[in-house]
């Protein structure tokens, strides 16, 4: 009997052990194991940061979000990096080395989903899904991509999105930016990133032991950022891009009455939806990201004669009908100074000298005015100084000290002086409106999703320059004649009075052999200016630039009646103004 009792005691003892063990695991250690079980099967996935929409002045969409599919992987679930890299490099046309590096990197949180490729094609998605069994830890995940309906046409204006860099992260950490975030890297996207950026969305999914998604636990919709309205007119932007065509250069269009930028184009451009391709410097040595309008610094060339003329007339150095003979060449001390026209312009007064852009005439009066006066006037019109346009990375250009400059070269815009195209556009606008220097701007307003206006840029009158009325009249008349019969005659448009000035930018007088840059600034209509344009062409002539400007103005003001009932879009612009 004792032996049977022993069996019972033996059994009872172990039953106690089991119950105590379960008590320990399920009650005492419950929080620990529960956490582990959650971590095992619940993954939080960020679905991207929705951004606000960017509209032009007429409500046409320039940039918006669209759903996309991204290729992601969870480091924790990855079993065989070599094999996975092999399969993926075939399917997605990715470099195998790059994949292995990315797959085997040590991540702080091995449960995070790391993006390998964005915006997969339908074919790639189906190939990945087919091979999913061989790709533990790899998925196709919904995400957001940025769509730019105008593509290359608005690239420099809007910028592009890119992964936050280490240095950016350090600066922006306090504002809630995180590693791996996609943020604006240039243009409006960068300038107003804080406003455009929304609150990231995410989904919580349950995954199985292979890491494959089983079901969705919870979904937090991302909240898009604020919408932005620009002063840009998409129609004019398109016209400007089309007319510039393949030429390297830039075009900017501004309203001279308030500083609103209507178009801003730089070429060569890039496709903001395919940045990786363009970031490859070897394939794109022409620097497609360079925005010439605000970053290009060139000698203003003959456009500077506007400054020389105002200075000469206001200081009384010359009267309207004082004449100077141009023989095509002039000797000053030991130097020989050429006019661009070898045979010379003969006897010219200021009314003819400007349209013909006579170097001898302006050189002569410039010497009389003096270097310091010319520089004073250049500074008065805010040349060599950032205009303050709301785009990142604006260059300042350079106005030399009186000691550095030579009056002869300076008066025709050559020598160590440099300006940016946007500054010259601002200059011609000031002439057009009679002395007001408006700060160029692109943002009209930022509107939250609820409809409140968060930020609105009003035209900002930086300063008003007093220009002698008589001098202004003479100058404007001269500018009109540039297009009527002068160097800018190719800009002429039937039925539209345009005032403009050509400029040929040269690095320095000694580098005359180098290819020149052709520029043309203008405004129209002459008596009631609404539009100011600058066209700048690398390795081109100023008459070519004038022709482009003319065509742009023509398409803005004199819409082609292509078809009945199909109102050309430019009329929308007229109504707006």
């Amino acid at each position: 009997m004792g032996r049977e009792l022993f069996l019972k005691r033996f059994l009872t003892f172990f039953i106690y052990v089991i119950i105590l063990r379960c008590f320990y695991l399920q009650i005492i250690r419950f929080p620990y194991y529960y956490q582990l079980s959650i971590k095992n099967c619940i993954r939080t996935i960020e679905t991207g940061i929705p951004r606000g929409i960017i509209y032009d002045r007429n409500g046409r969409i320039l940039a918006k979000d669209a759903p996309s599919a991204n290729l992601v992987f969870v480091p924790y679930d990855l079993k065989n990096a070599e094999k996975v890299a092999d399969i993926l490099s075939n399917i997605c046309n990715l470099d195998k080395e790059y994949l292995i590096k990315k797959l085997t990197k040590k991540y702080i949180n091995p449960f995070d989903r790391i993006i390998l490729k964005r915006d997969l094609s339908t074919k790639e998605i189906s190939l990945i899904e087919e091979n999913l069994y061989d790709l533990p830890g790899v998925f196709v995940q919904e995400g957001i991509k940025r769509v730019y309906p105008f593509g290359k046409k608005t690239a420099h204006l809007l910028g592009y999105l890119g992964e936050i860099s280490q240095s950016q992260l350090e600066k922006l950490k306090d504002k809630g930016y995180e590693m791996g975030d996609y943020i604006g890297q240039d243009g409006i996207e960068k300038e107003y990133d804080e406003y455009l950026r929304g609150i990231p969305g995410g989904i919580q999914v349950e995954v199985d032991a292979l890491g494959h998604q089983r079901r969705v636990w919870g979904k937090k919709e991302g909240i898009p950022g604020n919408d932005i309205f620009l002063t840009i007119d998409a129609t004019i932007q398109e016209i400007a891009y089309d007319e510039l065509g393949d030429r390297k250069g830039c075009v900017a269009v501004m309203d001279p009455r308030n500083g609103e930028i209507l178009a801003l184009v730089s070429n060569p451009s890039f496709d903001p939806g395919n940045i990786v391709f363009y970031l490859d410097e070897k394939r794109h040595p022409e620097k497609p990201f360079f925005n010439r309008v605000i970053k290009g610094q060139y000698p203003p060339g003959s456009i500077f004669k506007i400054i020389t003329e105002i200075a000469a007339l206001e200081t009384g150095t010359i009267k309207e009908f004082d004449r100077i003979e141009c023989t095509g060449v002039m000797e000053v001390k030991d130097r020989i100074f050429h006019c661009w026209k070898e045979e010379g312009h003969g006897w010219v007064d200021i009314n003819l000298a400007l349209p013909f852009s006579c170097n001898i005439f302006f050189g002569t009066i410039g010497m009389k005015v003096g270097v310091s006066k010319l520089i004073e006037y250049a500074k008065k019109f805010e040349l060599g100084k950032p205009t303050g346009i709301d785009l990142p990375g604006e260059a300042s250009g350079y106005i030399p000290e009186p000691s550095e400059a030579d009056p002869l070269n300076l008066s025709i815009g050559q020598g160590p002086i440099t300006t940016t195209p946007i500054q010259l556009l601002s200059l011609i606008s000031t002439v057009a409106n009679g002395g007001n220097i408006w700060q160029p701007f692109i943002l009209k307003k930022i509107i939250s999703k609820k409809g409140e206006i968060l930020k609105e840029l009003q035209p900002n009158l930086k300063k008003t320059v007093y220009i002698d009325q008589e001098a202004l009249e003479i100058l404007r008349k001269g500018l009109k004649n540039v297009v009527e019969f002068g160097t800018g005659v190719r800009a002429k448009v039937e039925g539209l009075e345009i005032a403009g000035k050509t400029g040929t930018a040269q690095r320095a007088a000694t580098e005359l052999e180098l290819p020149t840059h052709g520029a043309f600034v203008c405004y129209a209509p002459f008596d009631k200016p609404k539009i100011a344009v600058i066209v700048f062409i690398d390795y081109g002539s100023s008459p070519q630039a004038a022709e482009i400007a003319g065509r742009i103005l023509k398409r803005i003001f004199i819409p082609e009646k292509i078809e009945e009932g199909n109102e050309t879009e430019t009329e929308i612009y007229d109504k707006q103004i």
Partner: protein, 362 residues
């Protein structure tokens, strides 16, 4: 309806061994349903298990009035058949699949049946013999030793351990002396290095992993760690029926066979575990009672062997899922999926029922 309920409660109170087993079987069906994620297919284990229960129930009706004492003569025949089958398994076997013999649509696992056959044979041999005599002890060792080695070689560590327990249990009740036990123990220690030497690598790994489960959390320690997470995360009341995340999402391998207890613990929590363990305890106690009332030595030994078999499975299975015993891979009788195991369990309780009946029929 009410009468039926009353009848059932009465049978439970009367400790009808078959009735209690069927409660456990029913419990198992519910758990397996959850483990099959509610997806029932013809190929799925849930349907197969139901079929095995049905076949087992037919056996119950056929042998309900059978006399266990007739098994005494037949046991030797069974013994040689089973030795033959185990040998076949060993020689045809490749890898780990070598525990089964394919018989058309189902797989037959001789090692499961070997347990019951060894119990019957050893009991038959020891009836009316004195185990304290060395030749008797020696022959007893041979009877258990041959199938033990065949199973161990498969390798099926879990079943081999059950054989040792069966031998210890029956010889203990048969009156083995302390001196004999100690010498057997010393003998075991003496041969254990040889056993270690013929062990398969994965068996050694399992023992080493048991000693230090965190050695390799994604490798050999994975099962144990996941098993503990599964049980621990159940908490007091569990995650709810069909709501276990660990088992459903296949973090825990073999959750429908050896680790079925985890499903109970995860979905029904500590409360469910206590109820289940107490039910099993009630069942095992009933077997102890049958040992006590058995009128024949053969019946007493057989009941002891069956008790040791069930208790051994139960304790080792729970012990390994709870991390207090190495993972040796044995099922939880009545609950785990597996036809051979279920049929052997049902045959065992039919025998127990017969022992109980003939002990009172005088």
């Amino acid at each position: 309806m009410r009468q039926k309920l009353k009848y059932m409660i009465n049978r439970f109170k009367e400790r009808d061994i078959i009735f209690i087993s069927y409660i456990l079987i029913f419990f198992g069906v519910i758990i397996l349903f959850s483990a099959s994620k509610g997806v029932i297919t013809k190929e799925g284990f849930f349907i197969k298990q139901i079929l095995w229960i049905f076949i087992g129930t037919i056996f119950v009706y056929i042998f309900k009035n059978g006399d266990y004492r007739s098994l005494e003569k037949w046991s030797y025949l069974f013994y040689f058949i089973i030795l033959f089958l185990l040998t076949i398994v060993l020689f045809k076997g490749e890898g780990r699949a070598s525990r089964w013999i394919g018989l058309g649509w189902f797989y037959f696992q001789p090692s499961e049946f070997a347990k019951l056959v060894v119990i019957l044979t050893l009991s038959s041999f020891l009836s009316n013999k004195d185990i304290r005599r060395f030749p008797v002890l020696f022959l007893s060792l041979i009877i258990v030793g041959i199938p033990f080695l065949l199973v161990f070689k498969q390798p099926n560590l879990g079943t081999a351990i059950i054989f040792i327990l069966i031998f210890l249990g029956i010889s203990y009740i048969a009156g083995i002396t302390r001196k004999q036990l100690i010498s057997l123990f010393l003998f075991a220690i003496f041969i254990s290095p040889f056993i270690w030497a013929i062990m398969k690598d994965y068996q050694r790994e399992r023992i080493l992993t048991f000693l230090n489960p965190m050695r390799d959390p994604l490798g050999k320690g994975y099962n144990l760690l996941q098993s503990k997470i599964t049980i621990g995360s159940g908490g007091l009341i569990g995650k709810g029926f069909m709501k276990g995340t660990q088992t459903k999402l296949a973090f825990l391998p073999e959750y429908h066979t050896d680790f079925i207890f985890c499903v109970i613990a995860e979905e029904f929590g500590f409360i469910g575990v206590v109820i289940f363990v107490l039910l099993y305890f009630y069942f095992l106690n009933k077997i102890l009672e049958i040992i006590h009332i058995s009128k024949t030595e053969f019946g007493k030994y057989v009941a002891t062997g069956i008790f040791v078999m069930f208790a051994g499975h139960f304790l080792i299975n729970l012990g390994m899922t709870l991390g207090i015993f190495p993972i040796v891979g044995i099922p939880l009788p009545f609950i785990s999926y597996g036809g051979s195991s279920l049929i052997v369990s049902i045959l065992s309780i039919i025998i127990l029922s017969s022992i109980e009946k003939y002990s009172t029929l005088f």
